[in-house]
């Protein structure tokens, strides 16, 4: 059974329709990379999966919860869906450790000691154990993003959403972040990654979704889509970015 089901999803900002009749099925442990030109709707699509954007039409079912049902407790569902942002969005008034433990302590009512122990394990995993007591302002972009990943993982999510996680990074920082994401994929995390990193999509992605103009134009295995794109628009886009 698929862990994410999207049926006829549409999204409008006022009169501007940015997502049109999106359909997708994502299986557990799959890594989906969403590519496409700016303004194609790929970030909006991702943000509809945890309802950071209100959904205009259609149905989105996340791990059995229909989040388009107005009666659903969306906060509960979001606990199962981690999200990593392009701009990191760490809490600047809290230390790295506090950033990671805030959710588990306040939402999951985990005791502070347990939460900190787990946070340190996660920091170790992303290679930043020594930064536990630093403030976000003292970290580089790549370090911030790895902390943001640890923060999302601290809630024990079933799904991780990545919204252009390396787009705001200096080139030499990109590798560290992608490495953490690869590791996560290897451990079997279900991931949806909006990205411009075609290398990552090719190497780590199980499937690539190409979006343009608010539609899913084409989806296929990375090798297929990169070496043998079916659609003209996919070809045009890939010829520019590869």
């Amino acid at each position: 059974m698929s862990i994410i089901t999207v049926k006829n999803l549409s999204k409008s900002f006022g009169k501007l329709e940015v997502l049109k009749d999106i359909n997708a099925e994502i299986q557990e442990k799959e890594v989906i990379c969403v590519i496409g030109p700016s303004g194609s709707g790929k970030s909006t699509f991702l943000r509809c999966l945890n309802r950071l954007e209100e959904i205009s039409g259609g149905e989105v079912v996340i791990n059995g919860h229909n989040i388009t049902d107005p009666k659903i407790n969306i906060n509960k569902v979001r606990q199962e869906v981690g999200m990593v942002f392009q701009q990191f969005n760490l809490f600047p008034h809290k230390t790295v450790l506090e950033n990671i433990t805030l959710g588990p302590v306040k939402i999951l009512s985990m005791d502070k000691g347990t939460a900190e122990k787990k946070a340190l394990e996660l920091l170790n995993k992303v290679g930043l154990k020594e930064k536990a007591h630093s403030y976000p302002g003292e970290l580089s972009g790549g370090q911030k993003q790895r902390v943001a990943i640890a923060r999302a993982l601290a809630m024990n999510p079933k799904i991780m959403l990545f919204d252009e996680p390396t787009s705001a990074l200096d080139p030499e920082m990109v590798g560290d972040v992608l490495e953490v994401m690869k590791q996560l994929a290897k451990e079997g995390m279900t991931m949806v990654v909006v990205t411009h990193e075609m290398g990552f999509a090719r190497e780590v992605g199980d499937r690539v979704i190409f979006m343009d103009g608010g539609y899913i134009v084409e989806e296929n295995k990375p090798n297929e889509i990169f070496s043998n794109p079916q659609h003209e628009r996919t070809k045009a886009f890939l010829s520019k970015v590869l």
Partner: protein
């Protein structure tokens, strides 16, 4: 000099009244401001409207008119009976509350939307996001403006002397007419206000440094 030394204890008694009213009123005013700011930002039209009317009404009328309205106006209805101190505290609080509301609203709105999105994506409710993520950051940014408004409110308390509250200004008035030494007395009153406000500024600077975002 004898005049001053004889008057100082009396003026300090007045200062006590001033500070008593100020401290209670400013805390109440801050709470009013917080509630009104949240009303203003809530996704509920009626609450937005209440907040807007409140802020506009207070900002659009002189302090002294508000004071007379509450002390003489409300009391004249004989529904409740407010003594002058209570009326004074209420007036300073609702007056400061309107200005605090605008300061807090601007502070909240100055926090990047990404902060709210990050908190919500973790699973925090709107209220938890405010409490743990937005307000602590907003408060740091608001502090200089809050200090400023607190100083203005402290000075506004001097107007309470007109409804007979025995504050620092009122005691100054009594001393000045009793001793015929208006120059010295009013100079002393001014110096006392200045020192208190200066101490308040130092306190604010200290707090600001302590909670600075690294």
């Amino acid at each position: 000099m004898d005049v001053i030394t004889a008057s100082i204890p009396i003026l300090l008694k007045g200062l006590q009244v001033t500070l008593y009213i100020f401290v209670i009123a400013i805390i109440l005013g801050f709470l009013i401001g917080l509630v009104i700011a949240l009303f203003r930002l809530a996704p509920i039209k009626l609450l937005n409207w209440i907040a807007k009317v409140y802020v506009d009404a207070i900002r659009g009328t002189p302090f002294i008119v508000q004071l007379f309205f509450i002390y003489f106006g409300v009391n004249s209805l004989h529904l409740i009976s407010l003594n002058s101190t209570t009326a004074g505290i209420i007036t300073v609080a609702i007056n400061a509350g309107a200005y605090f509301a605008e300061i807090i609203r601007a502070g909240i709105q100055s926090i990047d939307k990404g902060q709210t999105e990050a908190a919500r994506s973790i699973g925090f409710t709107g209220a938890q996001t405010m409490r743990y993520v937005v307000l602590p950051q907003a408060f740091r940014r608001m502090l200089p403006t809050i200090t400023n408004q607190s100083i203005i409110s402290l000075k506004d308390t001097s107007l309470l002397s007109v409804i007979g509250i025995a504050d620092l200004t009122q005691q100054g008035q009594i001393q000045a007419s009793a001793t015929f030494e208006a120059f010295k007395i009013w100079l002393a009153v001014g110096v006392i206000y200045f020192i208190i406000i200066y101490l308040l500024t130092l306190l604010a600077n200290f707090v600001e440094r302590r909670i600075q975002v690294r």
